[in-house]
Assembly symmetry: C2
Homo-oligomer: 141 residues x 2
DNA sequence: ATCGGTGCAAAGGTTTTGCAGGATT
DNA sequence: AATCCTGCAAAACCTTTGCACCGAT
């Protein structure tokens, strides 16, 4: 018996345009508005509702990631590295001066997670880590 | 010459009520709605706009902290430990099962921050770290 | 041909703001 | 007394939803 029909996802022009935007900016994050504006700039008329719907479905499919930058209001989206598994393997470095958000790919928290398990009775399955500070470019000025 | 008059902050009933709410829940986080509802339950009629305005000013003063739980939508507020300096000295442990948010007070990231500086040319002045997993209570069920 | 996606506009929710009156210093 | 804060309601935003049409499979 077919319990739940595996709802298919269609390969629409709008969906691809949104994915392209995120791919172009794969080293940073984009807000919904930024994606919408970039599409407009490129001359593509896509409804804002479509942007929201696609971002949600892409997130459900695990192709993109929704990120809340602490202290900032607008949620951001970014491409998820297709090589990454379920677990987070990168962190963010956020410059307090210019606002640049860079990724930090290595995962250095394994030792700390073991400490958490032993001392806090909490089994860590995932983590989010952001560093705030001053990027090299800004510190040279 | 008085460059910028140091705008004073008044000690109003509403401001104290909001701070009391957050103090009572100092080990967890509260959404705007939760604070508003708790005040109502206690019989204090405070306008929602006042709650928003006070939370913003308390945040500006560094007395409370605004936290975006990744994946969740509503921003949360919590008391900032008055013993803590500018730098973060605690992390969050968020149970995927029951949603409990506990604090992890030790700061274990010093070594990692040094690595970031050397390998990434990024001077870390602060960080946010959240662990996701299963708390002891839930894992026993 | 079917069924999901799209665009529009309306609805829903959250946060901010203008203003007159009230409270704190 | 001065000025900051409050409450209300309106406004401004952001996000979701209903519906008829369009497009991908």
């Amino acid at each position: 018996m077919n319990m739940t029909a595996p709802k298919e996802t269609r390969n629409t022009r709008q969906r691809n345009l949104i994915l392209d935007c995120l791919k172009e900016h794969c080293d940073s994050h984009m807000t919904v508005d930024e994606i919408f504006a970039l599409l407009k700039d490129k001359g593509h008329d896509v409804g804002i509702a479509t942007v929201y719907r696609n971002l949600k479905s892409l997130e459900d499919q695990g192709l993109i990631e929704k990120v809340y930058i602490s202290g900032g209001a607008a949620p951001c989206y970014k491409m998820l590295d297709e090589t990454a598994g379920n677990k987070h393997t990168h962190h963010h470095m956020i410059c307090r001066n210019c606002g640049a958000i860079a990724d930090f790919d290595e995962d250095l928290l394994d030792a700390i997670e073991k400490i958490v398990l032993v001392t806090k009775d909490f089994t860590v399955t995932d983590h989010r880590l952001s560093f705030y500070g001053v990027c090299g470019k800004c510190s040279k000025k």
